[in-house]
Amino acid sequence: MFQITRIKDNGHEILQLSGDLTIYSAAEARHELETHLSQHPTLVLDLSEIDELDTSGVQVLLWLKREAAARVGALSLVRHSPAVVETFDLLHVTGIFGDPILIGPA
């Protein structure tokens, strides 16, 4: 199950993505995220609740980042979950996104 929840963090609005961002949910995710983007070209996505991320998920995130830039906004990814870190590492896309990844003490 893929879900987007609005949460407040220190007064900033953050979208928390949870569940699986995979080929099964890619179309839905793209649609919903695009809706959010059209309201706020600057988006912060909290990835801490992502259980699974596959190539299509990475593509959606990257597309969103480029869309945000095209609308003179920005996309930042924060609190990458272990699944996200693993996928980013495998595909070597951390650099493409450019967001700092905090590696937990574990």
């Binding site: 080929i23 890619a26 179309a27 995710a29 793209r30 596959d54 190539t55 299509s56 593509q59 959606v60 990257l62 597309w63 480029r66 869309e67 095209a70 693993e86 996928t87 495998l90 595909l91 070597h92 896309v93 493409i96």
Partner: protein, 723 residues
């Protein structure tokens, strides 16, 4: 989105690979066989890895490691190991079957069995595990010492994934995970330039490309196999370590990304030095400039002319590429189709045949010659389509036969009888649906032959036969049927014992009236078994009667030929196909019958042969031929016409005449089964619908011949007393 399709393909291929592996295991002497086994296990492991089927990967990996040692010659392939690998083969087959049933994790029994087998494989493994592929570290990186990385030039893999692979259920991530098990990925650059902006982006489409440098000791084939499932749609280039500069340059040229961008990736991966890159790209630009053309010279020629590589090397490389291309071309020639689709097609063709016949009948009633001509052409085409559609379902029997190698070996071993299996006519083709239904009866007969037919080694020696028994499976075509023989050189059927048993069971009242053939046919009676000891293989009383029933259902027959002390041959005679036949239409009163055309020998007027009407025999050019009147067999009312006709039919070695009122010519027939009500009627094989919409009955010629022949037997004693 059909995510399961790729997995289905994997399952089918795995089964095929396992079959090939089993075949090799049963003739493990040649190095080619060992290679084939290794490749089978290896490919299964690779594909399973792509689907994240860790239990299969783990198990296959260990088997593969053992096979690798055999292949390298550091391990002898003795019978013990062959048996163990056979057991491993069975386990893999079980794992795949469970996967097929939707159980990805595998049942507890299977897992326990796998662990037990792994424990048995352990002694065959090297003490030092192979460094290249640790099975359990699917995800973790292997850290290589840095200096080694510098010394070891890497394989360069350049891949642009096909747009649909995500939809097909494959994820580039799994390929990367799997590559990590083959070696270590020293550099990786993801290319996402193809990702479109704005509304053009399709989230289910794959835009990813990867440039990978892989440090590994595996062979090229192994790396290629990793991408087996995406090879068709994706653009893949694999460049071995220490390749010539132009291979990389060519890669740069061929790929859509900017030359310098890719060049830098290659330099980063230490495939090219910055100088190489600068020179090759620089020369190219210079040339273009001088020629005034944009194209310039081919990069390959540039490098050759610059004396970087001898032309022969380039030619060889090009040739190799061409061959690789041809190979893929060859593979595409086989298309896998689901059996259901094929059945549906054959069904439709059947309907087409009937509809065509209707059109033909209607056209013949009219006077328009153009319509007649058109339907004639149509009829010819329908016939061709029918033949082609049916040939699609034809498969070679060889695959079924070779399955028996294993059974013969196992059963023989269990009983302590060494047996050699000889297979002939493996390329003989017959309908797939028949092959499937044939496998059980064949199995039974083969087991019977080994268990009861072939004697123990001691008895064989005492009888002056070679200690190793011989069993042969043979298939060939004969007058519209396929004949399958199972022959052994064993003791043959003991007629006295069969007779005694039959009398004891009350199957025979008057033993003296039976011919030798009648006695041997007693083994097909329900509940008949002569085996003195019931082994766990056969001889439990459910036997030849089941075989006979199965063969009857296929509209086939069984013959037994046996020589006491010398062996037994069982001969199955089966129709080539179950669905459509060429028929010969005849009529009695107002009923139509169809005789399968393959069995028709000739047609005659009955008139001059009437001399022995009483005992139902005709004299056909000196040959005595029994005959029967369909009118009598089916108790048709009405007057016998002045001129009756005989259709001479043959089945196997038996011939008989069938007397009818009218001959009506050839006719394409779709066989429809008869209802339950008609099951007990002898002599009918099915029904069909004529072009006029009327129903015609298809005659069961073997049964009718049998009827004619037995009646002759029954009459003969009476005749002899009369004379």
């Amino acid at each position: 989105m059909d995510l399961d399709q790729a997995k289905q393909t994997f399952i089918i291929e795995a089964h095929e690979l396992l079959d090939a592996m089993e075949e090799s295991l049963l003739a493990p002497e040649s190095s080619e066989a060992v290679n084939a086994m290794f490749r089978a296990v290896h490919t299964i492991k690779g594909s399973a890895g792509l689907f994240g089927l860790d239990p299969i990967v783990r198990f296959a990996h260990t088997v593969e490691s053992v096979m690798d040692r055999v292949r390298a010659g550091s391990l002898a392939f003795d019978p013990d190991l062959v048996n163990l690998i056979l057991a491993c083969h069975d386990h893999l087959a079980q794992q795949i079957s469970e996967l097929q049933e939707g159980d990805d994790a595998g049942s507890p029994e299977t897992i326990a069995e796998g662990d037990a087998l792994l424990a048995r494989l352990l002694p065959y493994l090297e003490t030092v595990p192979r460094p290249a592929a640790p099975p359990t570290t699917l995800v973790t990186h292997e850290s290589h010492p840095h200096e080694e990385e510098d010394d070891q030039p890497c394989w360069h893999i350049s891949i642009r994934f096909g747009p649909d692979i995500l939809r097909q259920g494959m994820d580039p991530l799994s390929f990367l995970r799997y590559l990590q098990t083959l070696g270590s990925i020293t550099h990786l650059t993801p290319l996402l330039d193809r990702l479109p902006a704005g509304p053009d982006f399709d989230p289910e489409r794959c835009y990813l490309g990867l440039e990978i440098d892989l440090d590994t000791k595996v062979e090229r084939q192994v790396i290629e196999d990793v991408f087996e499932f995406v090879r068709e749609d994706s653009q893949i280039r694999i460049i071995p370590p220490r390749s010539k500069v132009e291979e990389y340059i060519q890669l740069i040229r061929e790929l859509p990304e900017g030359d310098h961008y890719l060049g830098e990736i290659l330099v980063k991966g230490k495939c090219l030095t910055p100088k190489d890159l600068e020179e090759a790209l620089g020369t190219q630009r210079q040339e273009a400039f001088e020629d005034g053309t944009v194209q310039g010279r081919m990069l390959g020629t540039i490098v050759i002319q610059d004396q970087a590589v001898p032309p022969a090397v380039v030619a060889a490389a090009l040739d190799k590429q061409k061959k690789a291309k041809e190979k893929t071309g060859h593979e595409v020639k086989v298309v896998k189709v689901q059996a259901e689709k094929l059945d549906r097609l054959v069904d439709l063709v059947g309907e087409l045949v009937i509809a065509g016949a209707t059109a033909n009948t209607l056209a013949a009633q009219g006077t328009d010659s153009r319509v007649l001509e058109a339907t004639a052409i149509l009829g010819k085409l329908v016939e061709e389509i029918r033949d082609n559609a049916l040939s699609l379902r034809m498969v070679q029997i060889g695959e079924t036969f070779s399955r028996f190698r294993r059974i013969v070996r196992d059963v023989g071993q269990e009983l302590g009888k060494p047996i050699e299996l000889e297979i002939r006519g493996a390329e003989t083709e017959l309908d797939k649906s028949i092959v499937e239904k044939l496998s059980d009866p064949l199995m039974h007969v083969v087991r019977n032959s080994i268990d009861h037919g072939i004697e123990s080694q001691e008895v064989r020696r005492a009888r002056g036969k070679p200690a190793t028994g011989s069993l042969s499976l043979n298939a060939f075509h004969e007058s519209g049927s396929i004949v399958i023989e199972v022959a052994d050189d064993g003791g043959g059927l003991n007629k006295q014992r069969i007779l005694a048993k039959a009398v004891e069971r009350g199957l025979v009242q008057d033993p003296s009236s039976l011919t030798d053939q009648d006695i041997t046919n007693l083994i097909f009676e329900p509940g008949f078994s002569t085996a003195d000891a019931v082994s766990n293989l056969s001889g439990r009383g459910v036997g030849m009667d089941v075989v006979k029933r199965n063969i009857d259902e296929l509209r086939g027959t069984i013959e037994v030929e046996t020589y006491e002390g010398a062996g037994t041959t069982l001969r199955f005679r089966l129709p080539l196909t179950l669905a459509i036949i060429d028929g010969f239409r005849v009529g009695v009163e107002d009923t139509f019958y169809v005789i399968p055309l393959d069995m028709v020998i000739e047609c005659l007027d009955l008139g001059p042969f009437l001399e022995s009407e009483q005992n139902h025999l005709i004299n056909l050019r000196g040959e005595v031929l029994p005959f029967l009147r369909l009118r009598e067999v089916f108790e048709t009312r009405g007057a016998v016409p002045a001129r009756e006709r005989v259709v001479v039919v043959q089945f196997g070695e038996l011939r008989a005449g069938i007397v009818v009122d009218r001959l009506m010519g050839e006719f394409q027939t779709v066989i429809k089964p008869l209802g339950e009500l008609f099951r007990s009627v002898k002599g009918l094989g099915g029904s069909t619908i004529l072009g006029s919409g009327e129903v015609a009955l298809i005659l069961d010629v073997p049964q009718l011949i049998q009827l004619a022949v037995t009646r002759k037997h029954a009459l003969q004693p009476r005749l002899s007393t009369v004379s």
